[in-house]
């Protein structure tokens, strides 16, 4: 199941061989080469590197992320609280548990499943050394999210989104820039309560997205929507903690696997 999802969402990352010490090749999403195949060099120990990539795909929860959070944690962090019914988005009705005193309550069972899938996907991307970009336009949590991104070794963009950052990347950054392989939205709305431009741009550039959708957000363009509260402090802190732990786990696991299979192939 994980293999199918991964191959559907990231065909190129699934097929190409990643950077292995001693082999230089770009397996990244380069701007303007959406359909082009990148060079594939035959590595010295192909068996080991294949194992490293295919092994995690055989298990549904290779990184054991279900032990990171429980329903009670989500409830205590007030993840289930949505906005008032006047702000409700039509497409979010499927994720609602109900409404109490005109405030929408999100279904935490569905949230658990979606969060599990989203974290699993993030872990796999981080395992394969993808670039993860955290986006949020909620000014309350800018500092928190940027610090979290820096601690993980990933990237953050919680500031004003200039027009062509993804779609006009060659001009904005320079030639040969590598675009993010995953964009994580900790809040899909911008300061004017409209959908963030990055959601649409990521869909245009075939970049998979994970997003926390509140009851006033549009979940349609996101690859892995996670219904949940995006305005409360404890909720966003919980998400930051979860993403940070996932990414660190994935990277540590990668190092372990490299050592393990590196030793194995040397022994063979």
């Amino acid at each position: 199941m994980a293999v199918g999802l991964l191959k559907k969402a990231l065909p190129r990352l699934g097929l190409a061989v990643p950077a292995w010490p001693g082999v230089r090749c770009m397996t990244s999403r380069l701007y303007g080469t959406a359909a082009a195949q990148t060079q594939i060099h035959q590595p010295d120990n192909s068996v080991g590197s294949d194992k490293i990539l295919t092994e995690p795909l055989k298990h549904p929860d290779f990184f054991r992320l279900s032990e990171l959070f429980s329903l009670k944690d989500l409830f205590d962090a007030r993840v289930h609280l949505g906005h008032k019914i006047g702000c409700r988005h039509r497409l979010m009705e499927q994720y609602l548990f109900g409404c109490r005193l005109e405030q929408d309550i999100l279904d935490l069972d569905q949230t658990m499943e979606h969060l599990q899938q989203a974290l699993n996907f993030t872990a796999h991307v981080a395992y394969r050394r993808g670039i993860i970009l955290f986006v949020s336009r909620n000014r309350q949590f800018t500092h928190l999210i940027e610090s979290m991104a820096r601690d993980c070794g990933e990237y953050a963009h919680c500031r004003y989104w200039q027009g062509g950052l993804l779609t006009n990347a060659n001009v904005q950054y320079g030639k040969g820039v590598r675009l993010p392989d995953l964009i994580v939205f900790l809040s899909t709305l911008n300061n004017v309560f409209q959908q963030h431009v990055a959601v649409r741009d990521a869909a245009k550039m075939n970049i998979p997205t994970v997003g926390i959708v509140d009851s006033n957000c549009n979940p349609s363009l996101l690859t892995y929507p996670v219904p949940g509260n995006d305005d409360s402090g404890p909720a966003v802190e919980l998400y930051c903690k979860l993403f940070r732990m996932t990414i660190n786990r994935a990277k540590d696991k990668r190092k372990q696997m490299e050592i393990l299979y590196g030793l194995k192939s040397q022994n063979d």
């Binding site: 950077a19 770009m26 050394r129 991104a149 963009h157 500031r159 950052l165 320079g174 820039v177 590598r178």
Partner: protein
């Protein structure tokens, strides 16, 4: 047969496109027949083809300013150093101690140029000064950018904002801790802001090595002001002082000549002044009785009008030294009023040597030391005078 073909035919021509005229060589490979070789022999024939950018439909300007690679710059630096030694040998000087001024003199001697525009003349400088600084590549071999805020576009500015806000949060937490322990007090050491100003946009751009907008600069200053509003801001005082620049003290700019003494041990001082094509040189002597001589003539005769004489006396009157100094001056050019103004400025400058710093500052604020910049405005074509237009006729 095959070996002959291989050696004679192997010619490689690099293809390149230069500026507006593009010339490239067309390489036509022809594989020799009936050849059994480990590597295939390719004979190349080249034909020079010249085109222009319009034919190739290339917008050269849209590519942006030319980018120079690190190797190119290094090569240029090597060539510059070798050329410097050659130049020193040519001029007969020691190559080891050949400075930039020597290079400039040598170039001016070897390539004399009569061009008015200094920037069009031949120049030989270190490549770092000629080629504009390029931003180093922001990402590593695997494509991952170095800075965690790279994808924002303005990484150094936002990183600065992030750090500054981090300081704000630290102070806030400290304040919270003090409140919790009950040691909170409003009267704490405040940051000294007197005599300094906030940095301007240009200075900030210099620090960040990245262009920013006025709005960004304003936001940053607002954040710093917010930090200063907290009671315990003195914790991060040195961080804040990094973004303040000292204001220049205006009075220190005045050049005060030292007092000179003539044969009779009398102190005197000389000052020069200009006003509207009149130049004056004034000598103010101490231990005098208020005699003023202009061009060898008494001031009463030279300036019959009271207004001009008042202008002469104003510096002395301002310093309450009316009858204490003698003044002798020479003045040329201008008219009656201009000469009076020139002498006034010259006298004020001469008197600077006799008085204290506070009096200098008060004189500066009174306007005695400021040269009057007003000169006669030129007449423009199509008008009768500087401002007066010709009489307007309806028909």
């Amino acid at each position: 047969m095959s070996k002959m073909a291989a050696s004679s035919g192997r010619v490689l021509l690099k293809s390149f496109v230069q500026g507006c005229c593009g010339c490239y060589s067309v390489i036509l490979p022809s594989i020799a027949r009936n050849v059994i070789l480990q590597k295939p022999a390719v004979t190349v024939l080249a034909r020079l083809v010249c085109t222009s950018s319009t034919l190739q439909r290339k917008n050269i300007a849209a590519a942006g300013p030319e980018k120079y690679t690190q190797e190119f710059i290094k090569k240029q630096i090597e060539e510059f150093n070798i050329g410097k030694r050659h130049l020193a040998n040519m001029m007969g000087e020691d190559p080891e101690t050949f400075t930039q001024e020597g290079i400039d003199r040598a170039i001016a001697y070897l390539f004399p140029s009569g061009l008015f525009e200094k920037r069009a003349r031949p120049v030989m400088k270190h490549p770092d000064e000629i080629f504009p600084k390029q931003r180093a590549v922001q990402w590593g071999e695997d494509g991952r950018p170095f800075h965690f805020l790279f994808y924002t576009g303005k990484q150094s500015y936002y990183s600065l904002m992030h750090d500054t806000f981090g300081k704000f949060l630290d102070i806030y937490k400290y304040q919270y801790g003090m409140r919790a322990e009950g040691l909170f007090s409003q009267d704490t050491k405040q940051v000294n802001l007197i005599g300094s100003r906030w940095m301007i946009k240009e200075e900030l751009e210099e620090i960040l090595v990245q262009p920013i907008s006025d709005h960004d600069c304003l936001r940053f200053i607002q954040l710093l002001e917010r930090i200063l509003a907290l009671p315990y801001c003195s914790i991060e005082e040195e961080y804040i002082q990094r973004f303040r620049r000292a204001l220049e003290v205006q009075s220190k700019k005045q050049k005060i000549e030292p007092l000179q003494y003539d044969e009779n041990e009398v102190a005197f001082s000389i000052g020069e002044g200009r006003r509207k094509t009149a130049t004056a040189t004034a000598t103010v002597r101490d231990n005098g009785s208020g005699n003023i001589t202009v061009n060898g003539v008494d001031y009463l005769l030279y300036f019959p009008v009271l207004q001009d004489r008042e202008q002469l006396m104003f510096p002395f009157q301002f310093l309450d030294r009316l009858g204490k100094h003698d003044m002798e001056c020479k003045v040329t050019g201008g008219g009656r009023s201009a000469q009076a103004g020139a002498i006034r400025l010259a006298t004020a400058r001469a008197l600077l040597s006799f008085i204290t710093e506070n009096e200098v500052e008060s004189m500066r604020q009174a306007g005695l030391l400021t040269p009057d910049p007003r000169v006669k405005e030129r007449q423009k074509p199509g008008q009768e005078g500087a401002r007066r237009k010709f009489t307007w006729n309806k028909r």
